[in-house]
Each structure stands twice: as structure tokens, then as C-alpha cells.
């Protein structure tokens, strides 16, 4: 297979155009044809996933050769003027980091569509908003222009709010407002940082690759870095700005929880790596110790708080806090193993947390409760879901052979190979795997094991539509965990320019 560059870059553009276009088309559909809407969304997302897989195959066949310098070499890139007055460009492309996250997003969106199969009310609105959300995320991952990136990033916020408020449960208004306020606050910091980059660069450019070659003033870097890192960090769930996520996750409908945990948060940590650390290396070094402490605090804090949660979704949300803390720990290691571990942890958590959310959602549709004390012995009535839950739980607690372990190993190793503060942090973070085991097993044991509840035999196991996303997610987890060699090599290449810039 050999495609011309313009074709591949068009395919890349299509990844966000397709969801948006499908949303537009769905607006014309009659409201009551929910079956049609579901199948249409699924088809669109399936095509999109196929597109991304095709791009990944092309990428793996001909990975862009990194020059060894500080500039990332992109694959499938295109660069067009969009708003010349402000030098805003439509600059797209992927490297291994963004492509792997694209793949993650594609899988999660596809699985999320299937996980929302049973939505009966306002189906049309749900899927339209979901598609807009997806478009925002795909667009963000391929953008190499800060402004475009920001626009796509913002595109995700409002649909999230609406989806939680319209389709959520519990304290959904509070949660949605909290989520949006905090993320908007993060966006404000990001915007300040982006404009700072634009004006301090001296070339009035939003282009990441051009900016990466600029040596910014040290004093500028020292204030712009925390603004950008924290701005993205809020989205990426950094302690103590993680509090939007537990409420948001637990109030959101299943697909949105999956999306938030799996993809949206990754956008944050991706931004931290790609924008804050890549463009502002000098600001990064002195500030990284602060973020290291926050990361380790998040790892341990999330785990401890998760122990006390009664609601399964809250438990998983706090587990996400812990796992996202590991992402930041990897970033803070500032070496290639750590950064690679961070990206792998993004992927790992991106598959694991949605899998758990997906299962929790499926259990909820049967038992109509998510409270751990109200459930018991579900293994007897729903063996398939239970096996998946156990597997996903094992993945979350970092069992070898699952994605989480491969990532955590890298992160810990990276941190042990870094500064002495990072070593201490890594030591503490390693201990968190004990606490992780405690809360995961507590959840799994209480829900699946024990005497079966009365009437639970009628609950029924997963349907085919529910099995598909679970199998997909779990196989991704297993593949990533069993055979991390190739992807880690690819990621190594992509990380090299960032690392070179950091060491400049």
C-alpha cells in the first residue's frame, strides 16, 4: 500500500470531519428513529476506527524518521493557512504519541457507542453530542497549531456539559457545572499560555513545530510553563485539581464516563507533554519538582480515597486519579523511560478505566444500583461480565500481562533513574500498588463474590452488543500488556525530539 501524502493527510482530516459530518446529518433524521440513529453513529464511528487503523498500519510500515534533532517529524502532515491575519494555520499530522492516542480515542468512541445502545430517550441528541465530542478530541490530537488545538479542545467542553446534564444521574447539574467550571478554568490558563507563546516567540506563530525551535526567554518560561502545565493538568486530573473527575464520572452516562476517563483526560496529559514540556523546556526543569510532588500525592491520595468509596463509579474515578498521578510521575521523571511510561500509562489507563466504567454501567442497568454494599455474588448470574470485571480489575491493579503493568514498570523505572526526589517519589508510588490491590479486590469481591442476592438469577448476562466493547477493550489491554515491545519502540522515537529539547 502506498498512498500519496495528500491522501493520507485528507484521511487524517477526515477523522474529525467524519464525526462532525455524521452529527450534522443526524440532525436531519427524524427524532423517533432511534434505531437508525444508533446504527448510523456506529457505522460512522466504525469507519472512523477503520480509518485510524489504516493510518496506524501505514504509520507502522513507514514510520517517519526522526532526525535526532529537536523537531518532531510528522507523518501524514498538512499545513494550510486558515486565518492568515493572526498566522493561524491548519497544521495537522501525527507522530507515534498522537497516533496511539488517536487509536485509543477511536476504540473508546466506538465502544462508547455500543455501550450507549440502550439509551431510549432523546437518542438523537445523545449521539449528535457524542459525535461532536469525538470530533473535538480527534481534532485536538492531530493539531499541531496551538490555536486549532485549543479550538478543538474547547469543542469538547460544552457537549460534555450537556451530555451530563441531559443524560446523567445523581447530582448531575452540580457535577456538570463543576466539571465545566474547572476545565474552563484550565482552558483559561492554557489560553494565557498560548498567547504568551505567540507573542514571546517573536515570530508570531501558533505552530508548535516552529515554536519548538524558538529559545524562549527564561523568565517567560518560568511563568508560562506552570500556566500551561497546570491548565492541561486540570484536564489531565492532577492532584488537587482532580475533583471534577469523580463527580463528573459518576454522574455521567456510561459512554461519557468512558470517554472522559479514556480520552478526554488523556488530552490533558498529552497537552502537558506536547505543549508545556516540549515548548518550554527551561521552565520545565525547575517546576517539575513541584509537579512531581503533586503527582505522587495524587497517586497515593487517589488510592486511599478510593478505599472508602461505596459507589463503584466513584471508586473507579478515584482509581483514575491515582493512575493519572502515575502519568504525571512518568512525565516528571524527565527521561526517556519515564516519558514513554507516561504515554503508555495514558494508553493503559485509557483502555482500563473505560472498560471498568463500561462494566459498571452494564451492571447498573441490571441491578439499578452502583453501591458496593448493595451488591453481592453477581458472578453466578452474570459470569461473562464478572470475568471481564475481574480482568479489568487485575489490569487496574497492574497485573503483569496487562497494559497497566507495562506502563507502570516504565514509569517506576524512569523515576528510579531520575533525580533523588523522583526516586523517593517512585518509592512511595510503588507502595500505592498495595492500596490499589486493596480497593480493587474490595470492589471485585464485594460485588462478584459472596452469596448471590435474591432474584439475581433473572438479571442475565451480557448481550452481544455489550460483549463487543468489552472484548475489544480487554484485548487492547492484553495486547498492550503482553507485547509492549513494538509500541514502546515507536514511542521512543516520538519522544526523542521532546527529550532532546528538554536536554538542550
Amino acid at each position: 500500500m502506498c498512498f500519496h501524502d495528500s491522501i493520507t493527510s485528507c484521511m487524517l482530516t477526515l477523522t474529525w470531519v467524519l464525526p462532525l459530518a455524521s452529527a450534522a446529518v443526524m440532525m436531519l433524521f427524524p427524532k423517533d428513529r432511534s434505531g437508525l440513529i444508533r446504527w448510523f453513529t456506529l457505522t460512522a464511528n466504525g469507519i472512523n476506527l477503520a480509518l485510524i487503523v489504516l493510518l496506524s498500519i501505514l504509520f507502522i510500515m513507514h514510520p517517519p524518521v526522526q532526525t535526532g534533532g529537536t523537531q518532531t517529524v510528522l507523518a501524514f502532515s498538512a499545513n494550510h493557512a486558515w486565518f492568515p491575519l493572526l498566522n493561524i494555520r491548519y497544521h495537522i499530522g501525527v507522530d507515534a504519541i498522537s497516533l496511539s492516542l488517536m487509536f485509543l480515542a477511536g476504540v473508546i468512541v466506538f465502544c462508547g457507542t455500543l455501550a450507549s445502545w440502550q439509551i431510549r430517550e432523546r437518542t438523537k441528541e445523545f449521539f449528535i453530542l457524542l459525535q461532536i465530542l469525538a470530533a473535538g478530541v480527534f481534532g485536538s490530537f492531530i493539531s499541531f497549531d496551538l490555536f486549532t488545538f485549543f479550538v478543538f479542545n474547547e469543542l469538547t467542553l460544552i457537549p460534555t456539559y450537556l451530555l451530563i446534564v441531559m443524560f446523567g444521574s445523581g447530582r448531575k447539574e452540580y457535577a456538570a457545572m463543576k466539571l465545566n467550571l474547572m476545565l474552563m478554568g484550565g482552558s483559561a490558563l492554557i489560553l494565557v499560555g498560548i498567547f504568551g507563546l505567540f507573542f514571546s516567540s517573536g515570530i508570531h506563530s501558533f505552530d508548535m513545530l516552529e515554536l519548538s525551535q524558538i529559545h524562549f526567554d527564561r523568565s517567560f518560561q518560568l511563568w508560562a510553563f506552570p500556566a500551561l502545565f497546570l491548565g492541561f493538568g486540570i484536564l489531565g486530573n492532577i492532584f488537587p485539581f482532580h475533583i471534577w473527575s469523580p463527580d463528573g464520572h459518576s454522574s455521567a452516562p456510561t459512554a461519557i464516563s468512558m470517554f472522559l476517563a479514556g480520552v478526554h483526560m488523556k488530552l490533558g496529559s498529552y497537552g502537558c507533554l506536547r505543549i508545556a514540556m516540549y515548548l518550554l523546556p527551561e521552565g520545565c526543569r525547575p517546576w517539575m519538582n513541584v509537579f512531581l510532588v503533586l503527582a505522587v500525592a495524587g497517586v497515593i491520595w487517589g488510592a486511599f480515597v478510593a478505599i472508602k468509596q461505596k459507589d463503584l463509579k466513584y471508586m473507579n474515578a478515584y482509581s483514575s486519579v491515582s493512575h493519572c498521578g502515575l502519568v504525571f510521575l512518568g512525565l516528571a521523571a524527565l527521561n526517556s523511560i519515564g516519558l514513554r511510561g507516561a504515554v503508555m500509562q495514558m494508553l493503559a489507563h485509557g483502555f482500563i478505566a473505560p472498560a471498568v466504567f463500561c462494566i459498571i454501567g452494564m451492571i447498573y442497568t441490571r441491578t439499578h444500583t452502583r453501591l458496593i454494599p448493595q451488591m453481592s455474588g453477581l458472578m453466578a448470574s452474570m459470569p461473562f461480565l464478572s470475568v471481564c470485571f475481574v480482568l479489568a480489575g487485575f489490569a487496574a491493579l497492574g497485573l503483569p500481562g496487562m497494559a497497566g503493568f507495562a506502563a507502570e514498570l516504565n514509569i517506576f523505572m524512569g523515576a528510579f533513574g531520575s533525580s533523588s526526589l523522583a526516586k523517593v517519589g517512585a518509592g512511595l508510588a510503588v507502595l500505592s500498588i498495595i492500596i490499589t490491590a486493596v480497593y480493587i479486590l474490595r470492589g471485585v469481591n464485594a460485588v462478584l463474590h459472596g452469596p448471590a442476592l435474591e432474584g439475581s438469577h433473572q438479571l442475565g448476562d451480557a448481550t452481544f452488543a455489550e460483549k463487543v466493547p468489552l472484548v475489544m477493550l480487554l484485548s487492547c489491554i492484553l495486547v498492550l500488556g503482553l507485547y509492549p515491545g513494538p509500541i514502546s519502540t515507536l514511542l521512543d522515537h516520538a519522544i526523542q525530539p521532546i527529550l532532546n529539547n528538554l536536554n538542550r
Binding site: W301, P400, G401, I434, R442, G485
Partner: protein, 661 residues
């Protein structure tokens, strides 16, 4: 290495995995008999391959010390993940005396346990789920013992933990089984965290994870330096080896991380048999043995090993004398035996001479080897007894000699073996341990070992007599359907009885000649020389007499005077209650976890999370909300207020404009 051996080494790992996948994904859900037979067949094949591998190893490597001076080779190795120059994780197959020995033992016992399980699980609704897990357990353990590097070890180490979790909690509707599985996983996980830490320190600081690299004296030299400052100054080598040893500590259930093991018998008996003999608990011993050269280089680490072993051996033996649960007695006896193995590994700690170290190491491995047979035999025969009396309680057993005659014979052999009576297998390995303790001048260890042996003989005779002699107390046999031994269950027991009885005699010389640590100065010549010098021969008669008298005491109290298994209500003396309650360690942990950890860490954390961190957000938004409510007052619909605001605002703007210019 010829292709046959290489092929066998692949097969040894792939067949159990295949069995797991085949029975787990497909057969187990349709037909449990088919899955059981498939799994057993594949495990049998694995054993055959293991034997082929062992023979190949022997002819090609072990007998060619000129080519392989440390008798070590890597059959194959595939890259799993690369971290940096020199730092890489592989999945490989390590060939050295102990790994090959373990492969043979594990596949043999696993095969027999699979076979036995066909009879044992008959009639259980979830039998289809059992065999895949059993195969997975064996696979994980096989992967662990053939690891070529620390990361592979950790990988399979954790899989072993997960498999044991699933198997201990196999009867998931039983709350005690669920709790036991959780406990086993979390306690071992606790230890594993330290193992991971130690492993990462060793790997990143010495520049490699491969055992060939880590066990090289050069690695110890690199690691042997002081890091940190002031109060936090420590020797990197000691700390990292102790951290790794902590992993083994948990997995091999050394005091005070032993609490999971006695509870682990909540799982089906074949699982207990596998856990206690070949798969799970010896992993810790194996890891310590695997890293023996590194540990030996570290100051103090081996002493830690020795003392944890000695203490656990004695501690568990004391408790075992008072338990009334069949499997719990065996569990504590396992603990005690594991303690002996650890003790033996630690004996090289303070001695300069390589010979003692070598002898102790060999003795430990020898004991692992013999213990695997007689312990799994004990558990399997206990399973038969449990099947017969439908109870785990030793007070429900008694007088089973007639109805379970084959089991009676097999158990007798196993009990004699574990007690250490000549010529049964336990005698030889235990004798080696005691001898090396004596030779190395470790009198505390020697005393602990002797006392443990005596206690072992005592509680095993108690165990044996209470089950098989005396009067029948079983309700099952009263109700007419007499206890019987299914051929499927008895056959593996009888097969195991053969090595339990004889393997010590047959294997002793082989072990002394070949199972050696590859530290500097270790040589078969030295060991046989020190062994045959005869200066310690008084130890054999002394221990034998002590053990015989302990057995006699057991017979006297439980056979003749017909003591019951425990005191009746109210007549229990204090010391006995302490022993029966296992020194209240579980209660202490319960207190630690429920009261201290939950109340002083998790609850405050949760409170802080809700009240302070979330509260800060709510408060911030509250400030704005209140501000907005204030501002709302201007928006009261009264045109005059709007006008005033507009006018004043206009002037304010004007004023600001003037200021700016």
C-alpha cells in the same frame, strides 16, 4: 543444546498455557470432563517434556562443566521490552540445576494434582472453571522458575499471585473463601511492592535485570556503596537485597506475613496441595536461591533470611500442635518447613567459607525438592479424608484406617517423611540443613531446627493418629454410606508415595554433586569433602532419637491416652489458647487494618477529600455565587436603579478613561 531440548523447553511453557486457553475459553464452558481430561493430558505431556528437558540438560550441560562452568545456560530468550542500553526485559528460559529441578517437580506434581482433581471436583457445578485456573497456576509457576531476569520473575510472580487469588476464592459464594483469597493476594502484594522496588533499584543501579548480570560479583560491587546522607544513609546493596527478600518473605509466608497461608486452605484441596508443595510458596525460597550470590554478597541480608526462617519454623510448628482443622495443621507444617528452607539459605550469612554456604544452599534446595512430594501427598490424602468425612475438622475424623487403607499407607509414608525418619525423603534433606547449621556454627539456627523437627514429629503423629486411629467419629460413616477411596484420587496419592519415600535416598548424591550455587568458591569437591569428613555424625543419631521420642510421645498421648484434639470448653490453659489462636497475629492485623489504617488514614483522607479539597471548590464557587446574588440586586427590574447604575457607570468609565490618558 539440541533442538529436542529447546523444543521441550518451549513446550513446557506453551502446553500449560494452551491448556489454560483451551479449557478456559472453550471446553470448560461446555463440558467439564472434557476440559479436565484435556488439561490433565496436557499437563502430563508437560511433565514428559520436562523430563526430556532435564535429560537433555543433564547430558548436554550438566555433564560438561568444561563448557558450562556454572552449569547455566539460557535456552532461548525473546525481547519483551527494552528500557535503555543494557536495560531490557526478556521472556526467556533459564537452565540451571535448580530451574530444571523445579520444572520437573512442578510439572510432576501439577500433573498429579490435575489428575486427582478429576476425582475431587466430580459433582462440583463449577468444575469447568477449575481446570483452566489450575493450568494457569502451573503455567505461571513454570514461567517463574525459568525466568532469565528479574522482570520476568516479577511478571510470573504476580501471575502466580493472581492465579492463587482466583483459586483460593474458587468457591466464591463462601465468605471465608472470598476473604482468604483477598487476604492472600493483598498480603503477598504488599510484599511484592517491595520486591518491585528492590528489583528496580538493583536493575537501574547495576545496569541490568538479567540474573547472569545481577548474580555476577561485579554487580554486587557496583551496588555496594553508601547512598543518602545523615540518618538516611544506607548501603544500597543491603537495602535492595532486603527489599527483594521482602517479596520472598511475603510469598513464602515468613512471619509476620504468614497470615495468608493458613487461610489459603479455603480453596479446594488440590489447590492447597499445589500451593503448599510446588507452586506458590516455594517461589519465595526459589527467588532467594536464585539471587543467592547477590544476597551472599550483601552484608546482613542472609542473616535476615536466616532469622526469619528460624523464627517462622519454630513459631509455626508450635501453632501446628494445637490446630484442629486438618488442612490448617498441614498449612502450619508448611510454614514451618518453609522456615527451615529459608533458615538453610541464610546459613551462609556470616561464614566466610564457601563450603558451608554451598552445603546449606544445597540442603535448602534438596528440602524444597523432597518437601514438594510429601507435602502434596499429605494434602491430597487429606483431601480424600475430607471427601470421606465431609468435614475439615480433625475431631470429626478418626478410625479411618480401615475404610481408607490406601490413603492410610500413603499418609503414613508422608508423615514419616516429614518427620524425618530414615530412610524416608525428609530425613536426608533435613539432616543436611541441620548439619550445615552445625558446621557453620549457627547454634541458634541449629536449635531452632532441632526443636522444629521434634515438634514436627509430634504434631504429625498427632495428626496421623487422630485421623486414622481411634474410634470413628464421622457423621458420614455413621449414616451408612461408607467412606471410600475413588481410584482417580488414590492413584496420584500412591504415585506420590513412591518419591516421598525414596527420593531422598536416591537423590542425595545427585544434589550434593550438582545443585550448587554459582558463587565464588562453590565446588562439589569442597562440599562432599566436608560432608564425608564425619565429624558431625553424632547429629544423625541425636536427631533421630529426639524425633523418635517425639513420635512416641505423640503416640502415647493421642494413641494410648486417647487425648482429644483439643481441650474442651473452659478447661483450656492460657498458653494453649494463645497457641490455638495462632498468637493472635490475625487479630492484630485486623486491628491494624480496620482500626489503624482505615480509621487513621483512609477515613481522614476521604474526609479531607470531601470537605477540604471539594470544599475549597464549593467555597470558591460559593463566593462567586454570593457575589452574583449581590449583583442580582441591581437587576431588580426597577428602571431607576438601572438608570443610576448606567449613569454612575458612565462616569466611572469616563473617570477610568481620564486616568488612562
Amino acid at each position: 543444546m539440541d533442538s529436542m531440548t529447546t523444543l521441550a523447553s518451549y513446550g513446557v511453557l506453551i502446553l500449560p498455557l494452551l491448556s489454560f486457553l483451551l479449557t478456559g475459553l472453550w471446553l470448560g464452558r461446555k463440558n467439564w470432563i472434557a476440559s479436565a481430561c484435556t488439561a490433565t493430558f496436557l499437563m502430563g505431556l508437560t511433565f514428559v517434556l520436562a523430563v526430556i528437558l532435564a535429560l537433555g540438560y543433564r547430558t548436554q550441560i550438566l555433564l560438561h562443566p568444561e563448557l558450562y562452568p556454572s552449569a547455566t545456560s539460557v535456552a532461548w530468550e525473546h525481547s519483551w521490552m527494552t528500557f535503555g542500553p543494557g536495560l531490557a526485559a526478556h521472556i526467556g528460559f533459564y537452565l540451571d540445576p535448580i530451574s530444571v529441578m523445579m520444572v520437573v517437580v512442578i510439572s510432576f506434581i501439577s500433573f498429579l494434582v490435575h489428575f486427582y482433581s478429576i476425582g475431587y471436583m466430580k459433582g462440583d457445578k463449577s468444575a469447568g472453571r477449575f481446570f483452566p485456573l489450575l493450568s494457569f497456576f502451573s503455567f505461571s509457576m513454570l514461567g517463574l522458575v525459568v525466568s532469565t531476569n528479574l522482570i520476568q520473575t516479577f511478571f510470573f510472580w504476580e501471575l502466580v499471585g493472581a492465579a492463587s487469588y482466583l483459586l483460593i476464592g474458587f468457591w466464591y459464594t463462601k465468605p471465608s473463601a472470598v476473604a482468604a483469597s483477598k487476604k492472600a493476594f493483598i498480603v503477598t502484594r504488599f510484599a511484592d511492592a517491595f520486591f518491585l522496588m528492590g528489583m528496580l533499584v538493583v536493575g537501574t543501579q547495576s545496569g541490568g535485570f538479567d540474573f547472569l548480570h545481577v548474580n555476577d560479583p561485579a554487580a554486587a560491587v557496583i551496588l555496594n556503596r553508601s547512598v543518602g546522607t545523615g540518618m538516611f544513609a544506607f548501603n544500597l546493596l543491603s537495602v535492595s537485597t532486603v527489599l527483594i527478600y521482602l517479596g520472598a518473605w511475603g510469598k513464602s509466608a515468613m512471619f509476620p506475613l504468614h497470615v495468608w497461608l493458613p487461610d489459603a486452605m479455603e480453596g479446594p484441596t488440590p489447590v492447597s496441595s499445589l500451593i503448599h508443595s510446588a507452586t506458590m510458596v516455594v517461589a519465595g525460597i526459589y527467588l532467594t536461591a536464585r539471587l543467592f550470590p547477590l544476597f551472599a554478597a550483601a552484608e546482613g541480608t542472609l542473616r535476615v533470611v536466616e532469622f526469619t526462617g528460624a523464627f517462622t519454623a519454630l513459631f509455626a510448628a508450635l501453632i501446628a500442635c494445637t490446630q484442629t482443622d486438618l488442612k490448617r495443621i498441614l498449612a502450619f507444617s508448611t510454614l514451618s518447613q518453609l522456615g527451615l528452607m529459608m533458615l538453610s539459605l541464610g546459613l551462609g550469612g556470616s561464614s566466610e567459607g564457601g563450603a558451608v554456604q554451598t552445603l546449606a544452599y544445597t540442603a535448602s534446595m534438596f528440602h524444597v525438592f523432597t518437601h514438594a512430594f510429601f507435602k502434596s501427598l499429605l494434602f491430597l490424602s487429606a483431601g480424600i479424608v475430607i471427601h470421606a468425612i465431609h468435614s475439615n475438622d480433625i475431631r470429626d475424623a478418626g478410625g479411618m484406617r480401615k475404610s481408607l487403607s490406601w490413603t492410610y499407607a500413603a499418609t503414613l509414608i508422608a508423615c514419616l517423611a516429614i518427620a524425618g525418619i530414615w530412610p524416608f525423603s525428609g530425613f536426608f534433606s533435613k539432616e543436611e540443613i541441620l548439619q550445615s547449621a552445625l558446621k557453620g556454627g549457627h547454634y541458634i539456627a541449629l536449635a531452632a531446627g532441632l526443636l522444629t523437627s521434634v515438634l514436627t514429629a509430634f504434631y504429625m503423629s498427632r495428626y496421623f493418629i487422630l485421623i486414622f486411629h481411634g474410634t470413628k467419629r464421622s457423621h458420614a460413616s455413621e449414616h451408612g454410606h461408607d467412606a471410600h477411596e475413588g481410584i482417580l484420587m488414590v492413584l496420584p496419592v500412591l504415585i506420590l508415595a513412591v518419591p516421598s519415600a525414596l527420593i531422598g535416598w536416591l537423590g542425595k548424591d545427585f544434589f550434593l554433586a550438582h545443585i550448587l550455587p554459582y558463587t565464588a568458591g562453590a565446588s562439589a569437591a569442597g562440599i562432599s569433602e566436608s560432608h564425608e569428613s564425619g565429624s558431625f555424625s553424632w547429629l544423625v543419631p541425636v536427631t533421630s532419637i529426639l524425633i523418635m521420642s517425639a513420635i512416641g510421645a505423640g503416640w502415647y498421648f493421642y494413641g494410648r491416652k486417647k487425648w482429644s484434639a483439643g481441650f474442651s470448653e473452659g478447661q483450656e490453659p492460657g498458653w494453649y489458647r494463645v497457641l490455638r489462636n495462632k498468637f493472635y497475629v490475625d487479630e492484630f492485623y485486623g486491628f491494624l487494618v480496620r482500626k489503624v489504617a482505615a480509621r487513621f488514614v483512609a477515613t481522614p483522607a476521604n474526609w479531607t477529600e470531601r470537605k477540604i479539597i471539594n470544599g475549597a471548590f464549593d467555597e470558591t464557587s460559593g463566593v462567586f455565587r454570593r457575589l452574583a446574588i449581590r449583583l442580582c440586586k441591581f437587576q431588580n427590574g426597577q428602571v431607576q436603579v438601572y438608570l443610576s447604575v448606567a449613569l454612575l457607570g458612565l462616569y466611572a468609565l469616563y473617570w477610568i478613561g481620564r486616568m488612562v490618558h
